[in-house]
Each structure stands twice: as structure tokens, then as C-alpha cells.
Amino acid sequence: MSGILTILRKEWRCFIGSDRGIFIIYAVLIVSWSLMLAAPSNTTVQAGPLWLVFFSVVISANFSNTVFIAERVNGILEILLTSGLSRRDILYGKMLFVFGMSVGIGLFCAAVTPLWRLALYKEAASTLTGETLLLYCAAVFMNTACSAYLSVRMGNPRLLHLANLLLLGLLVTLHFVVSYYFTVPPFILPLALLFIGALATAAARRLYESEKILQPVVL
């Protein structure tokens, strides 16, 4: 557990020490995303599953780039592996940071949304429900786990976000198709995302114990 905390502290310090441009990007993302979420449901933008999972990929991709990919590319991971932390703690610490930051930003957007609705549309009620937030969290978890796995598995890890997006798109489309013909409980899609995330976590865990973690990276 202390190893996970060490990694979390490390990732947080690295994030805080990032260049100012990163924070501007996040601010723009938060403003634009919360504005879109605030739009009334009869406009073109809705807080539907596709839009939610798309946002989850965008947000977690930013953190995955530095946490999973950059450390492999510039050799930090090798130092980390020999630092006295267990590989399990390194993996889970990194995943927890990406998950926590992505969910945190998503929740912040959700918290800001009612203010926009009130200011722009004079409506107090938010279209966001517990279900949509659960779906968002499940999508972030799957993205995080798949990023951890694919960042080691793929020769060119920059493509992992595309792979994440394709996988999520496929799952949501499948969900829409099945929902069209059958009555599907609302928790099925988040459950499917969590299940795939768990599988990817187990696979990433195996990769972190193997020497594949040091395979050459092509960018």
C-alpha cells in the first residue's frame, strides 16, 4: 500500500510540475465539456453514452500519455522497476492516478454543468444522472486498464488511444443494437466496461512482471 502511495505522490508532483500549457488545455476541456453537458436535451448535444465515453477517452488519454507511455520512452520506468517498489504497486499506483484524475475532472465538469444551465438556459435541473456518471467512471476504468496493457503490448503506444476509442465505440454500438431489440437493464453497459477493464488489468499485471515491459518503443 505504501508503494502505491509513493507512486501516487510521485505522479501528483509530476502533474503539478507540468508546463502551464497543460493546465490551460485542461481548463479549456472542462469549460467546453461542461458547456456541452449543460445544453438542453432537445438540442444537438446530449450527455448520451457515446459522448460520455468519448470524453473519458480524451481525458484519460492525456494522463495515460505521461504516466504509461512517456516513462517507458525515456527510461524512467526501468529506474522505477529497480527502485524497491513492487511491480504491482507501480502498476496499480499509476492506474489509480489516471483513474482518479480522469474521474475527478469528469465530476468537476458535472458539478459545473448546473451553473451553466442556470446562467445560459435559466434551468436549474441537470440532465446528468447517477447512471451516466457510473457509465463515465466505468469507461474511465476501462480506458485506464487498457492503456496500462496496450502501452506495453503495442509497439507504437501512441495508437493505444485510438484502440481504446474503437473498443468503446464497438461496445456502445453493440449496446445500442441489442437495446433496440431487447430490454437491456441500464447497468449492463457499465458492467461490461468494468469486466473488460478487469481483464485488461489482469493482462497488464502479467506484462508488468515480464520483460516485455522493456521492449523497444516505436513512435
Binding site: 509513493t6 510521485k10 508532483r13 527510461g75 529506474i79 527502485s83 517498489l85 513492487s86 522493456l214
Partner: protein
Amino acid sequence: MTPAIFATNLSKSFGKYRIIDSLSLQVEAGSIYGLVGLNGAGKTTLLRLLLGILQPDRGTVRVLESTPWHHDPHFYRQCGVVLESDGFWGNLTAEENCAIYASAQGVPRQELAEYLAVFWNGSALFAGNKKVKHLSRGQRMQCALCRAFIGKASVYFLDEPAVALDLHAYDHFKLLVRKARERGAALIISSHQLDTIDELCDRVGILRNGMLTEIDRAGRTADTSWYIDTDDSPAVSDVLARAGGASVRFERGWHFTLADAATNIPRIIGALVAAGCALREVRREEGDFGSAIRTLYAGRQPKEAP
């Protein structure tokens, strides 16, 4: 006594390329092992095998009685490493990088502060909260050394640790290495800088074609090359021959090789002075270690001692 680092019959291939081939190595506690070899000889691969970052195809590795490939965190807490890439978080200062590493190693903050105060007091690395990404290459290497020697490791793996160091930093590096050896740590230094290897290491191995050829350091010391700047006279030649000098030649001074120099050089000097020769310079010729290594690189055996 069980050696600190013990590898036997070690092999490692990448695809069709065999990088390490049936290699055996033993490094005792309190000693420094130098690893040399041409680019691509497998030095970094060997260090990674010994550190458990790579898994051997065949053979056994035991370091501090642990199997590194089992990735036991307690094992790594007894290791100090400088690897091929320095591996710093560029957005953080040198001190923050060291603090994170110390935390991972389980080194208390107080101990880290004492270490930094004793060994790195006044270092420019920690001045002005400079982020590591703004440090020069040499400073980053110093920072890597600072990180490697945090805590009192029992075994050190140093891959090209003296690259880009200035004179002060190089002296500091030697101090850290010698202190570690005095403490009883085992060190492996891989380097292309033969002076570093020659100066610091108790034993030296040359990695070639995946195999390790160890230089007999005792033999090499027994066969050192010497230079004496004195008269070009037959008397000098006689003195050198009587003292056991071999390969004697005169070329702007006398060049020769000598066994047991510690005893024979004072005898030669005494005899030359007694013979009335004007002695202007006596020194061991530099480069004998380098030439021995080059001979081995070229695939030949070094000359036998006379």
C-alpha cells in the same frame, strides 16, 4: 564466503542474436568489478540480467542470495543503480527526484537529508530549485550518481557512470565508489572509459561474443611497462637486464617491461645512480591497460609476461 553476485552458465538471446553466451561471473562483497566491451557487446544486457529486468534463457543468477528475476522489492532496496538512460522526472528538481527514489527505497527522510548534507553539500544540483530538465548532461549524471548512492546498498550496478562528469564530479564519483567498497558493497562498473576501470576496479572482465574474458590483473601488474629518461649508454641496458627488464629499447629514453616493479624499480634506480647515470624521469608508461584491452577487443590474447 558466498559471493554478492553470482552468475553461472548465463545465456540470453534476442531473436536469432545470442547476446550473452554461457557466461559465468562472481563478484565478492567489498570488491569492484569492471566490465568492458565494444558497443553492442552485451554489457547493458548483462547488467539487466543481473538486476532481474531481463530473464535469462538459461543459467542462474543469484545476487545477495536472491534471484533477481523474482522482482523482490527487498532485493532492490539493497541495490544502487545507474542505468543506460538516467530516468529522471524532468518536471521535478534533483532533490524531489531523489526524495521519491529514497521513499521507494524505504530510506527515511532524515537519512536522506544527512546523506545529501555529507556528500552533496553545496552541490549546484540542488541550488535554486532547478528542474532536472534544465540541467546539463554532466549534472544529470551527477544526479543519477546521487540517486544511486542514497541509502547504504550492498550491491551497485553502474552503467557508464562517469560519462560527461567534470573533474570535481569525477573525483566525487570515485569517493562514493571507494566509500561503498570500504563499507563492504560489491560494485559492477560498466564503462568505455578505461582509465576509470583501471583506477577503480579490482577485477576486469571483457565481454566479447557474449562471453566474459577476465584479465588477470595480478599478471598485468607483474608485466607493467616502464620508461626511464636517462643516458643512452650500455651500462643502462646491463642494469635493466640484471633487474629482469624485458623488451628493452631506447627511443628518447629507455622503454621496458618489468615484473615485480615494487621491488625492482628502486633497485634499478639505485644501480643507475651508482653507475653515474643522470636520471631525469622514471614513470610507469600509461596505456598498458588500454593496449591490453584493445588486444583483447581485436580477438588476440595479451602478451605473456616474460
